[in-house]
Symmetry: C2
Subunit: 229 residues, 2 copies
């Protein structure tokens, strides 16, 4: 871990995770351009992607301000997040929108955790990012409108959303095992209280509870799009 | 042509052309992520792409303010610009950077033309876009540094730059024939003075002269990157 910063290691991990999540989402969203049904929706997709880039930049710069090499902080999360994207490649415009909404929602849960735990300046940054909710609403509305027009889509998109969160939990579980600081932090303990360098059984159980509450919030997001669990 | 706006038709054409050029560059740049040699350069690439998106958005919104359907204004330029991108797909990170620099340079020439001809508010917008030159400098510096490290690259990259501008001129020629208002405007005549609905021989000759001066400026940009004509 790079020295010279004041944030607890778990917070640096969370910021690195979120930074790469935003950068990865940026490239994947741009990749989905071929699925956009019109020039207008291509433009909307570019705007969504640019928002992810702005968030990436803010997190990247904050990590640098904290004295951390941003690329070093992102590195442990590159493989699991790339793997998530590879395993959940959208086959249609609606699948791409649902993925954006679900992915942003999960990121939001992690942002809230950072806001709870980080220093004042980082907290303000994170709250600024979370305040940009307009785009998520546009996505949910577009999906709802498509479902009203063709209710048969609901079953397939619900399955898709379940697969998205399932693959996310699978990657998150792997990350929790390999990053004990992060597991400790998500379990709600102060990092100083942690003993040894591996996540204990108690930590992993707490992480599972954290995942359970994440799944609950996922259900709320599905409902917002007009989808069932 | 949509009515209700005050800008001359050629200016609407130029704004539509530039809007789609920015949107197309955004998606193509993001597509080049796989060529980036590091996580850091991926981040820089995302920042370049986000700048293109911001320019697209500004032009898109200005077209709407002028009472024009932005997608309708962009439509005539989708095929030629997509064709240019298809015919000039970078095979390396340096080729991608050279393409960005050359493409932005050509766009800059068109922006200057808009600034000359458009209404006050559009001119201010366009000058704001053109003021963002920091990124172009970063690209030119990266290419220069790579050439200093490996001078053998110069020949191949110079050929690449020549192909980029050759393909651009070929597409521009096709656009000039199919869009007489644009040809008239680029030839420097007032649109009111134009007779008939096709570009005359005089217009096309003037367009060729405009292309010649564009090629001159291209040579200057090559030099800035350390490349020969």
């Amino acid at each position: 871990m790079t020295t010279g910063h004041t944030a607890p290691p778990g917070v640096i991990d969370l910021l690195g995770l979120l930074a790469y999540a935003e950068l990865g989402s940026f490239f994947r969203l741009a990749d989905d351009a071929g699925l956009a049904p019109s020039l207008r929706s291509k433009g909307q997709l570019a705007a969504l992607a640019a928002t992810e880039q702005a968030h990436y930049q803010a997190l990247h710069d904050r990590l640098a301000e904290l004295g951390v090499d941003p690329e070093e902080a992102m590195e442990p999360f590159v493989a699991p997040l790339d793997l998530w994207h590879e395993r959940t490649e959208p086959q249609s415009w609606l699948e791409s929108l649902v993925k954006t909404y679900v992915g942003d929602g999960i990121a939001g849960d992690f942002y809230r955790k950072v806001a709870e735990l980080a220093d004042e300046e980082t907290r303000i940054l994170v709250e600024g990012v979370m305040a940009e909710t307009g785009r998520a609403e546009f996505v949910a509305e577009t999906v709802r409108a498509a479902l009203e027009e063709d209710p048969k889509l609901a079953g397939r998109l619900s399955l898709w959303a379940r697969r998205l969160v399932g693959e996310a939990l699978s990657q998150a579980q792997a990350v929790a095992v390999s990053r004990p600081e992060l597991a400790t932090l998500l379990a709600g303990k102060a990092p100083e209280a942690r003993e040894g360098s591996d996540a204990g059984i108690g930590d992993l159980a707490a992480v599972s509870r954290m995942f359970a509450s994440l799944t609950d919030r996922h259900a709320g997001r599905l409902k917002a799009m007009g989808l069932a669990e």
